[in-house]
Protein backbone atom coordinates (compact mmCIF):
# COMPACT_ATOMS: atom_id res chain seq x y z
CA UNK A 1 0.00 0.00 0.00
CA UNK A 2 1.33 3.38 -1.02
CA UNK A 3 0.93 5.90 1.79
CA UNK A 4 0.67 9.65 1.47
CA UNK A 5 2.28 11.37 4.45
CA UNK A 6 1.00 14.61 5.94
CA UNK A 7 3.45 17.52 6.32
CA UNK A 8 2.90 20.57 8.49
CA UNK A 9 4.45 24.04 8.15
CA UNK A 10 3.79 27.26 10.08
CA UNK A 11 0.64 28.12 8.20
CA UNK A 12 -0.12 25.09 6.03
CA UNK A 13 -0.95 21.42 6.09
CA UNK A 14 0.13 19.30 3.13
CA UNK A 15 -2.18 16.29 2.93
CA UNK A 16 -3.54 13.76 0.43
CA UNK A 17 -5.93 15.08 -2.21
CA UNK A 18 -9.56 14.06 -1.91
CA UNK A 19 -12.82 14.39 -3.84
CA UNK A 20 -13.87 17.41 -1.74
CA UNK A 21 -10.99 19.35 -3.30
CA UNK A 22 -12.48 19.02 -6.76
CA UNK A 23 -14.68 22.17 -6.90
CA UNK A 24 -11.76 24.53 -6.16
CA UNK A 25 -9.47 22.50 -8.42
CA UNK A 26 -11.99 22.67 -11.30
CA UNK A 27 -12.49 26.40 -10.73
CA UNK A 28 -8.74 26.96 -10.96
CA UNK A 29 -8.57 24.95 -14.18
CA UNK A 30 -11.55 26.82 -15.62
CA UNK A 31 -9.76 30.13 -15.04
CA UNK A 32 -7.14 31.88 -17.08
CA UNK A 33 -4.67 31.35 -14.22
CA UNK A 34 -4.20 27.75 -15.39
CA UNK A 35 -2.91 28.85 -18.81
CA UNK A 36 0.70 28.02 -17.93
CA UNK A 37 -0.06 24.39 -17.12
CA UNK A 38 -2.32 23.23 -19.94
CA UNK A 39 -5.50 25.14 -19.04
CA UNK A 40 -8.05 26.51 -19.20
CA UNK A 41 -9.66 23.09 -19.08
CA UNK A 42 -13.17 21.69 -18.85
CA UNK A 43 -14.57 20.06 -15.75
CA UNK A 44 -14.21 16.69 -17.47
CA UNK A 45 -10.51 17.32 -18.09
CA UNK A 46 -10.00 18.67 -14.59
CA UNK A 47 -11.42 15.49 -13.08
CA UNK A 48 -8.91 13.47 -15.07
CA UNK A 49 -6.08 15.77 -14.00
CA UNK A 50 -7.06 15.37 -10.34
CA UNK A 51 -7.20 11.56 -10.66
CA UNK A 52 -3.78 11.69 -12.35
CA UNK A 53 -2.31 13.79 -9.51
CA UNK A 54 -3.44 11.23 -6.96
CA UNK A 55 -2.43 8.26 -9.10
CA UNK A 56 1.07 9.70 -9.43
CA UNK A 57 1.55 8.74 -5.75
CA UNK A 58 0.61 5.12 -6.50
CA UNK A 59 2.99 4.92 -9.46
CA UNK A 60 5.98 6.89 -8.13
CA UNK A 61 5.58 6.65 -4.36
CA UNK A 62 5.51 10.45 -4.16
CA UNK A 63 3.46 13.22 -5.70
CA UNK A 64 1.78 16.54 -5.03
CA UNK A 65 -0.15 17.33 -1.89
CA UNK A 66 -3.31 19.27 -1.33
CA UNK A 67 -2.22 22.34 0.60
CA UNK A 68 -4.63 23.48 3.26
CA UNK A 69 -4.59 26.84 5.01
CA UNK A 70 -4.50 26.06 8.73
CA UNK A 71 -6.35 29.23 9.75
CA UNK A 72 -9.39 28.45 7.58
CA UNK A 73 -9.10 24.76 6.68
CA UNK A 74 -9.48 25.76 3.02
CA UNK A 75 -7.81 23.87 0.18
CA UNK A 76 -5.52 26.49 -1.34
CA UNK A 77 -2.95 24.77 -3.54
CA UNK A 78 -1.48 21.74 -5.17
CA UNK A 79 2.21 21.53 -4.38
CA UNK A 80 4.83 18.81 -4.28
CA UNK A 81 6.86 16.36 -6.26
CA UNK A 82 5.98 15.63 -9.83
CA UNK A 83 7.61 13.31 -12.35
CA UNK A 84 5.29 12.14 -15.13
CA UNK A 85 6.80 10.06 -17.91
CA UNK A 86 7.37 13.02 -20.25
CA UNK A 87 9.20 15.24 -17.72
CA UNK A 88 12.96 15.80 -18.01
CA UNK A 89 13.59 14.94 -14.33
CA UNK A 90 11.76 15.02 -11.00
CA UNK A 91 10.26 18.40 -10.27
CA UNK A 92 9.00 20.44 -7.33
CA UNK A 93 5.75 21.94 -8.66
CA UNK A 94 3.33 24.49 -7.27
CA UNK A 95 -0.14 25.64 -8.28
CA UNK A 96 -2.07 27.98 -6.02
CA UNK A 97 -5.84 27.84 -6.26
CA UNK A 98 -7.66 31.08 -7.10
CA UNK A 99 -7.49 33.73 -4.40
CA UNK A 100 -4.42 32.44 -2.55
CA UNK A 101 -1.65 34.28 -4.38
CA UNK A 102 0.59 36.80 -2.69
CA UNK A 103 0.77 35.17 0.74
CA UNK A 104 4.01 33.23 0.28
CA UNK A 105 2.15 29.93 0.49
CA UNK A 106 3.76 28.42 -2.63
CA UNK A 107 7.26 29.06 -1.28
CA UNK A 108 6.37 27.78 2.20
CA UNK A 109 4.83 24.54 0.90
CA UNK A 110 7.48 24.00 -1.80
CA UNK A 111 10.24 24.23 0.82
CA UNK A 112 8.49 21.54 2.87
CA UNK A 113 8.20 19.40 -0.26
CA UNK A 114 11.90 19.93 -0.99
CA UNK A 115 12.82 18.86 2.52
CA UNK A 116 10.71 15.72 2.10
CA UNK A 117 12.44 14.96 -1.21
CA UNK A 118 15.94 15.49 0.18
CA UNK A 119 15.47 13.70 3.49
CA UNK A 120 12.74 11.05 3.32
CA UNK A 121 13.23 10.22 -0.37
CA UNK A 122 16.96 10.81 -0.61
CA UNK A 123 16.88 13.00 -3.72
CA UNK A 124 20.15 14.82 -4.36
CA UNK A 125 18.71 17.46 -6.68
CA UNK A 126 15.39 18.76 -8.01
CA UNK A 127 14.19 21.12 -10.70
CA UNK A 128 11.15 23.29 -11.30
CA UNK A 129 9.77 24.10 -14.74
CA UNK A 130 8.55 27.65 -15.19
CA UNK A 131 6.69 28.99 -18.24
CA UNK A 132 8.57 32.07 -19.52
CA UNK A 133 5.59 34.39 -18.89
CA UNK A 134 4.80 33.02 -15.45
CA UNK A 135 6.50 35.67 -13.35
CA UNK A 136 4.86 34.66 -10.09
CA UNK A 137 6.16 31.13 -10.42
CA UNK A 138 9.66 32.33 -11.31
CA UNK A 139 9.67 34.43 -8.14
CA UNK A 140 8.91 31.33 -6.05
CA UNK A 141 11.86 29.50 -7.63
CA UNK A 142 14.11 32.50 -6.95
CA UNK A 143 12.95 32.85 -3.35
CA UNK A 144 13.81 29.18 -2.82
CA UNK A 145 17.33 29.89 -4.07
CA UNK A 146 17.00 28.03 -7.37
CA UNK A 147 19.01 29.09 -10.41
CA UNK A 148 18.47 28.86 -14.17
CA UNK A 149 19.69 25.63 -15.75
CA UNK A 150 18.63 25.54 -19.38
CA UNK A 151 15.28 25.05 -21.06
CA UNK A 152 12.83 22.28 -21.75
CA UNK A 153 10.09 22.21 -24.38
CA UNK A 154 7.15 19.95 -23.68
CA UNK A 155 5.07 18.63 -26.60
CA UNK A 156 1.87 20.02 -25.05
CA UNK A 157 2.87 22.74 -22.58
CA UNK A 158 5.45 24.38 -24.83
CA UNK A 159 8.74 26.03 -23.80
CA UNK A 160 9.69 26.21 -20.13
CA UNK A 161 12.67 27.44 -18.15
CA UNK A 162 14.43 24.87 -16.00
CA UNK A 163 15.19 26.18 -12.52
CA UNK A 164 17.51 23.99 -10.48
CA UNK A 165 17.10 23.96 -6.74
CA UNK A 166 19.89 24.20 -4.22
CA UNK A 167 21.24 20.63 -4.07
CA UNK A 168 20.55 18.44 -1.06
CA UNK A 169 24.12 18.61 0.22
CA UNK A 170 23.98 22.41 0.39
CA UNK A 171 20.61 22.73 2.09
CA UNK A 172 20.53 23.23 5.83
CA UNK A 173 17.50 21.30 7.04
Amino acid sequence: MTSIPTLITDRLVLRALKADDFPAFAEFYASDRSKFIGGPATETQAWRFLACEIGHWALRGYGRWAVEEISTGQFCGLIGLWFPLDWPEPEIGWDLMNGYEGKGYATEAALAARTHAYTTLGWTTAISLVAPENHGSRSVAQRMGASRDGDFTHEKFGPTEIWRHVPANQVVV
Binding site: W47, G55, A58, L59
Partner: protein, 176 residues
Protein backbone atom coordinates in the same frame (compact mmCIF):
# COMPACT_ATOMS: atom_id res chain seq x y z
CA UNK B 1 -1.37 9.49 6.52
CA UNK B 2 -3.63 8.35 3.75
CA UNK B 3 -3.14 5.75 1.08
CA UNK B 4 -4.29 3.27 -1.51
CA UNK B 5 -5.93 0.33 0.15
CA UNK B 6 -6.94 -1.80 -2.80
CA UNK B 7 -7.79 -5.43 -2.02
CA UNK B 8 -6.41 -8.08 -4.39
CA UNK B 9 -8.92 -10.54 -5.82
CA UNK B 10 -8.14 -14.02 -7.12
CA UNK B 11 -9.98 -16.35 -9.48
CA UNK B 12 -9.00 -19.82 -10.75
CA UNK B 13 -6.77 -18.43 -13.49
CA UNK B 14 -6.42 -14.71 -12.73
CA UNK B 15 -5.35 -12.14 -10.18
CA UNK B 16 -6.96 -8.70 -9.98
CA UNK B 17 -4.73 -6.16 -8.27
CA UNK B 18 -3.99 -2.45 -8.12
CA UNK B 19 -2.14 -0.85 -11.05
CA UNK B 20 1.65 -0.60 -10.64
CA UNK B 21 4.18 1.19 -12.78
CA UNK B 22 5.53 -2.08 -14.21
CA UNK B 23 2.17 -2.50 -15.99
CA UNK B 24 2.57 0.72 -17.89
CA UNK B 25 4.43 -0.54 -20.99
CA UNK B 26 1.78 -3.13 -21.81
CA UNK B 27 -1.00 -0.62 -21.13
CA UNK B 28 0.65 1.99 -23.37
CA UNK B 29 1.20 -0.59 -26.11
CA UNK B 30 -2.53 -1.36 -26.01
CA UNK B 31 -3.34 2.33 -26.42
CA UNK B 32 -1.30 2.53 -29.62
CA UNK B 33 -3.42 -0.21 -31.21
CA UNK B 34 -6.63 0.05 -33.17
CA UNK B 35 -8.29 -2.26 -30.62
CA UNK B 36 -8.25 0.62 -28.11
CA UNK B 37 -10.78 2.52 -30.26
CA UNK B 38 -13.66 1.52 -27.96
CA UNK B 39 -11.96 3.06 -24.93
CA UNK B 40 -10.75 6.41 -26.20
CA UNK B 41 -7.73 5.29 -28.24
CA UNK B 42 -5.62 4.97 -30.21
CA UNK B 43 -3.28 7.52 -28.66
CA UNK B 44 0.36 7.60 -29.62
CA UNK B 45 1.41 10.09 -26.94
CA UNK B 46 3.20 8.16 -24.21
CA UNK B 47 2.89 11.15 -21.90
CA UNK B 48 -0.89 11.19 -22.25
CA UNK B 49 -1.09 7.42 -21.81
CA UNK B 50 0.94 7.73 -18.61
CA UNK B 51 -1.46 10.34 -17.24
CA UNK B 52 -4.41 8.14 -18.14
CA UNK B 53 -2.76 5.20 -16.43
CA UNK B 54 -2.07 7.27 -13.31
CA UNK B 55 -5.71 8.36 -13.31
CA UNK B 56 -6.77 4.70 -12.99
CA UNK B 57 -5.12 4.55 -9.58
CA UNK B 58 -6.22 8.05 -8.64
CA UNK B 59 -9.86 7.26 -9.07
CA UNK B 60 -9.64 4.77 -6.21
CA UNK B 61 -9.05 7.63 -3.78
CA UNK B 62 -11.63 9.92 -5.37
CA UNK B 63 -14.44 7.35 -5.48
CA UNK B 64 -13.40 4.53 -3.17
CA UNK B 65 -13.45 2.05 -6.04
CA UNK B 66 -11.73 1.81 -9.39
CA UNK B 67 -9.97 -0.25 -12.00
CA UNK B 68 -8.02 -3.40 -11.42
CA UNK B 69 -5.18 -4.77 -13.49
CA UNK B 70 -5.85 -8.37 -14.51
CA UNK B 71 -2.89 -10.73 -14.54
CA UNK B 72 -2.41 -14.40 -15.34
CA UNK B 73 -1.03 -16.55 -12.54
CA UNK B 74 2.49 -16.12 -13.99
CA UNK B 75 2.15 -12.38 -13.40
CA UNK B 76 1.58 -11.33 -17.02
CA UNK B 77 -0.73 -8.31 -17.07
CA UNK B 78 -3.41 -8.78 -19.74
CA UNK B 79 -5.90 -5.98 -19.21
CA UNK B 80 -7.85 -3.74 -16.88
CA UNK B 81 -11.38 -4.10 -15.57
CA UNK B 82 -13.67 -2.49 -13.06
CA UNK B 83 -15.86 0.44 -12.16
CA UNK B 84 -15.12 3.99 -13.26
CA UNK B 85 -17.10 7.13 -12.60
CA UNK B 86 -15.44 10.22 -13.99
CA UNK B 87 -17.41 13.42 -13.55
CA UNK B 88 -18.85 13.45 -17.07
CA UNK B 89 -20.62 10.09 -16.79
CA UNK B 90 -24.20 10.13 -15.50
CA UNK B 91 -23.69 6.74 -13.83
CA UNK B 92 -20.84 4.51 -12.79
CA UNK B 93 -19.49 2.50 -15.69
CA UNK B 94 -18.36 -1.08 -15.31
CA UNK B 95 -15.71 -1.64 -17.95
CA UNK B 96 -13.34 -4.27 -19.25
CA UNK B 97 -10.39 -4.21 -21.60
CA UNK B 98 -8.08 -6.94 -22.86
CA UNK B 99 -4.85 -5.39 -24.03
CA UNK B 100 -3.87 -7.98 -26.61
CA UNK B 101 -5.68 -10.07 -29.18
CA UNK B 102 -3.69 -13.06 -27.95
CA UNK B 103 -5.63 -13.04 -24.68
CA UNK B 104 -9.01 -13.24 -26.41
CA UNK B 105 -11.14 -16.36 -26.54
CA UNK B 106 -10.25 -17.82 -23.14
CA UNK B 107 -13.09 -16.28 -21.16
CA UNK B 108 -10.70 -14.21 -19.08
CA UNK B 109 -12.87 -11.09 -19.10
CA UNK B 110 -15.98 -12.93 -17.99
CA UNK B 111 -14.01 -14.68 -15.25
CA UNK B 112 -12.60 -11.38 -13.98
CA UNK B 113 -15.96 -9.62 -14.15
CA UNK B 114 -17.76 -12.39 -12.25
CA UNK B 115 -15.17 -12.02 -9.49
CA UNK B 116 -15.86 -8.27 -9.42
CA UNK B 117 -19.60 -8.91 -9.32
CA UNK B 118 -19.13 -11.02 -6.20
CA UNK B 119 -16.91 -8.38 -4.62
CA UNK B 120 -18.49 -5.76 -2.40
CA UNK B 121 -17.03 -2.43 -3.42
CA UNK B 122 -17.19 0.24 -0.78
CA UNK B 123 -19.91 2.71 -1.68
CA UNK B 124 -20.93 1.00 -4.88
CA UNK B 125 -23.58 -1.53 -5.72
CA UNK B 126 -23.34 -3.64 -8.84
CA UNK B 127 -26.91 -2.80 -9.84
CA UNK B 128 -26.02 0.90 -9.93
CA UNK B 129 -23.57 0.32 -12.77
CA UNK B 130 -23.97 0.39 -16.52
CA UNK B 131 -21.68 -0.58 -19.37
CA UNK B 132 -21.41 1.45 -22.56
CA UNK B 133 -20.87 -1.00 -25.42
CA UNK B 134 -20.50 -0.21 -29.10
CA UNK B 135 -22.98 -2.42 -30.98
CA UNK B 136 -20.23 -3.69 -33.30
CA UNK B 137 -18.03 -4.73 -30.39
CA UNK B 138 -19.33 -8.31 -30.41
CA UNK B 139 -16.91 -9.52 -27.75
CA UNK B 140 -18.06 -6.94 -25.25
CA UNK B 141 -21.73 -7.45 -26.07
CA UNK B 142 -21.22 -11.15 -25.24
CA UNK B 143 -19.56 -10.29 -21.91
CA UNK B 144 -22.44 -7.96 -20.97
CA UNK B 145 -24.95 -10.72 -21.72
CA UNK B 146 -23.00 -13.31 -19.71
CA UNK B 147 -23.02 -10.93 -16.75
CA UNK B 148 -26.80 -10.71 -16.95
CA UNK B 149 -26.82 -7.05 -17.95
CA UNK B 150 -29.84 -5.88 -19.91
CA UNK B 151 -30.11 -3.31 -22.66
CA UNK B 152 -31.55 -0.08 -21.27
CA UNK B 153 -32.89 2.10 -24.07
CA UNK B 154 -33.95 4.83 -21.69
CA UNK B 155 -30.56 5.35 -20.01
CA UNK B 156 -28.80 8.65 -20.41
CA UNK B 157 -25.70 8.73 -22.58
CA UNK B 158 -22.62 10.68 -21.55
CA UNK B 159 -22.60 12.32 -24.98
CA UNK B 160 -25.62 13.00 -27.14
CA UNK B 161 -23.78 11.70 -30.21
CA UNK B 162 -22.51 8.53 -28.51
CA UNK B 163 -23.66 5.56 -30.59
CA UNK B 164 -22.99 2.95 -27.91
CA UNK B 165 -25.68 0.86 -26.25
CA UNK B 166 -26.19 1.09 -22.52
CA UNK B 167 -26.33 -2.22 -20.65
CA UNK B 168 -27.65 -2.00 -17.13
CA UNK B 169 -26.24 -4.45 -14.62
CA UNK B 170 -28.55 -6.43 -12.37
CA UNK B 171 -28.20 -7.15 -8.68
CA UNK B 172 -26.43 -10.52 -8.28
CA UNK B 173 -29.31 -11.73 -6.10
CA UNK B 174 -31.77 -11.06 -8.91
CA UNK B 175 -29.73 -13.22 -11.27
CA UNK B 176 -29.95 -16.43 -9.21
Amino acid sequence: MSGFNIPTLATDRLTLRMPVIADFDAYAEFYTQERSKFVGGPDNSLGESWRGFAALSGQWMLRGYGKYIVTLKDGTAIGHVGPRHPIELPECEMGWCLWSEQSEGYGYVTEAMLALRDHKFLGLSWADCVSYVAPENAGSVAVAMKLGAVLDKSARHPNADDPSDVYRHQAPEALQ
